[in-house]
Each structure stands twice: as C-alpha cells, then as structure tokens.
Amino acid sequence: MNRPALPGYLQAVEPCPARPAATGDIPLDPVEGIPTLSERAEGDAPERRLLARVAEGDRDAFRDLYLRYHRRLARFLTRLTHRREDAEEIINDTMWIVWQRAADFRGASRVSTWIMGIAYRRALKMIRRAVTHERAMLLEAVDDEPSNDQVVESSADRKLLERALAQLPLEQRLVLELTYYLDHSCEEIADIMECPVNTVKTRMFHARRKLRVLLGDSHAAGGP
C-alpha cells in the first residue's frame, strides 16, 4: 500500500468507472431533458408531482413539464417524421392532451412512458395522414443534399448514420431511439408502442443486425 486508504466519504467520490457507457468525449447522461442516473434512481416521483399539479390546473407545473419534455419529444418526433415543424405540432398536441388528461393518469406506468405513448400515437396519426398526401416523408431517405431546411444538417458521420437509420423499418428505428436516446426499458417501450415485450427485443435485435450491415464493420454498429 503506497498510500493510506481514503475515508469512506472520499472513496465515494473517487473517479467512478461503474458505468461502462460513460467513456469517450460524448457525455451520455447530461442530455438536457433526459433524466440523469441520479434522477432515475429517484424514480419519476418529481414528474408525478408535477403531473398531479397539472391535473389541478397549475399552469406553472404545466410549463415545467412542457419544458422538461420538449427536447426529448422533439428529438423522438423528428426521428419519426423527419420534419421539425411536424414534430413541433405533435409536441403541442401531445402536451395539450396531457393538460386535459392529467387527472386520468393512474400511475400504472412512469409519467415519461405515458407521455411518450401519447406522442407516439399522435405521430402515427400524422404519418398516416402524410402518407395519404404522398408526402411520404418517412420513405424519403436522407439524400446527399437535404431536401429542405427542415432536414437536420449533418456532418459526414452523422449523415452516414442518418441514412442507415432511414433504411430501418419505422418500428425498429423507434425501438433503437427509445432505447439508446431516451433510455427507456424494454417493458416501457412495449407500453409506448403497445406491443409485447418480446416484440421489442426482436425489433431491437433486427435493428442492430441491420445497422451492422449498413454501417459496415468498421463503424459502431459492429466490430469485426
């Protein structure tokens, strides 16, 4: 032993390698609007309290909830629709429904699962409408040049990833997004997408396999 053992309270703040994902340049937890590990450990009690206040008609609570959810909804819905303006419209519809139905939330699921489920169903409705109108934005793979300024500008690497993602079936793309960006559990995704848990696992499995092929072995989706 070269140095004396640290007292317990200091050991706790030693560099913490516990989380295997927390390496590299991109911090995985501090995505604004996404619960951090410590928040997650607390459960969604704060959000439940917010929602209870919303059910009582508390506008400030609604504002908090809206701001908490805007980012993750925007990201998730932009992935679905490829259009920010559509995403914004769905966010507002979703949060409008949350305002009206907050009192109906019975706590059977997490607040986030409930809200993402509402957003998912609103988005599917809009997508069906869009397909009817031959906008077919979902099938529009990300081209070399963005079709309009709504399409997220991409670096070369991101563009490659976006293009690969665009080739996945919608359900697989969403499971990937709900898992890796929004950190939902398998069971929560099943709730959101209203499908069996086993289906979620299978969709994820196929998404990973397809991405591995699309991105090539040298890229993140698959090692040699």
Binding site: R19, P20, A21, T23, G24, I26, L28, V31, E32, L37, A55, G57, R59, F62, R63, Y66, H70, R71, A74, R75, E85, E88, E89, I91, N92, D93, M95, W96, W99, Q100, R101, A103, D104, R129, V152, E153, S155, D157, L161, E171, L176, T179, Y180, Y181, D183, S185, C186, P196, T199, K201, T202, M204, F205, R208, R209, L211, R212, A220, A221, G223
Partner: protein, 254 residues
Amino acid sequence: MDAHPMDGDMPAAACDSEAARLLPWHLTGRLAAADAARVAQHLGQCATCRADYESQRALRERLRDDGPLEYAPQAGLAATLARIDELGRELAAPARASSSPAGVELPAPARRAARLRAAHWRAPQWLAAAVVVQAIGLGVLGSLLHARGTATAGYETLSTPVADAPGGQLRAVFAADMTLGQLADLLSARGLQVVSGPTEAGVYTLGLGPASHAAVGTALRALRADPRVRFAEPTRLAGPALPAGPAAVPQARP
C-alpha cells in the same frame, strides 16, 4: 409481423441467446437486477457478445449526438398555453351560470376536473375533423382561396398562433360537404369575412372588421352552434377576455 414466437430466426452469425437480446438494456442500465446479472454472467463467457457490447456502446454515443439540432420550446409553449387559456374561458362560462343560484360550489380543482373531463378529447375530435377536411380535398373550398388571391405556402396548424393575419379574429374548420354558397351565406349572416385560408388542414382565418370583443364572442358562439362548423376558436388571446359570464352575454329574447 409483430408477433415473434421465439428466437428461431435470429441470425446465425450473432449470439442468439436471450442475454444477447437484452444487451442494449444492460448497456443503458435499464434491466431488472436478475436480468442484469444474467447478462453480466453471459458477457463473461461470450466473446461475440463482448464485442457486440462495445460496438453498441459506440453506436449509442453516436445516436445521442444531437449535432446542430436546436431546441426552441418557447413558441410552442406559448401557443399551447394560449390554447389552455381559451379552453379555460370556454369552460368558465357554463360553470358560472350554473353554480351561483344553488349556492353550493365544489372546490375549484374538483369543479375544474369535472369540466375538463367533460371536454376530454375535444381537441382530437376537431383535429380529426380537420384531417377529414384535408383528406377529402379542398376542391370546392380551394376556389374561394383563389378568389381571395391568398397564397398558403406555410403549413399552419390549428395550434399555430396567427400573427400574420392582421384582420383575423377567429379560426374555423367547416364540414367537408358544405358548399361554397352555404359557406358564403353562413359567413355573411355573421358579418364575417375570410381573412386567409384554407390552410392545408382546412383552417380558415375569419375577421369581423372593426368589431367589439362582444361581437367576436357572439360570432364565435354562433359558429360553434352551427352543426356544419367543425371547430371555431378565437385567434386573439391577449387583451380583454371574451365575454364569459352571463352578464356579458347578450341573452336571447323570448
């Protein structure tokens, strides 16, 4: 397509254990303890899954990189709060009329909750109506658009605040089977004019010219009472509130 009985058709190249299927949620820390232990044990034994774990970690990092995506929630928040205000005013009117004579009032939250329950799914209904209008096509109504010489390049939704229609005081969606003549009659009977629209979603912005707020409220109620009007709402939410209580509402004469 969704039903997937078992792991039978998993690719031969990858590990097809249940642990391999759970790997992504092990990575995100979202597995129950028993599953997490199972995956951890499997990782100790399976080189394929260890490599996969590393590649998934890299993929996750890439996926979480938002790049230049900017988030600007304020406009949407303001629009949604405005919609909430309008709903509140709308719900306040009947409640005030009915609760005062009896002298017995529910606590405010309960009253509000009851009213909100009554109004549940109102928005989805009229949004659905807008979709129907849109889907059926704007052939008939489109001619009016041409007559007005208005361009509708934007993609305006019901929840978009109308800042660019100076004379607009109401927004409305009409029944798909309403003829242009019927529409014109309805509007002229209420002194309303089309300021802009229909939008892609079939939304008209209507104006009353130099009218008092009471007149806007009257026109609004008249539109809402008409079965051919799928949806109507005021566009101006700032300024004096629309008449809400019985005192401000011109009573129908017997």
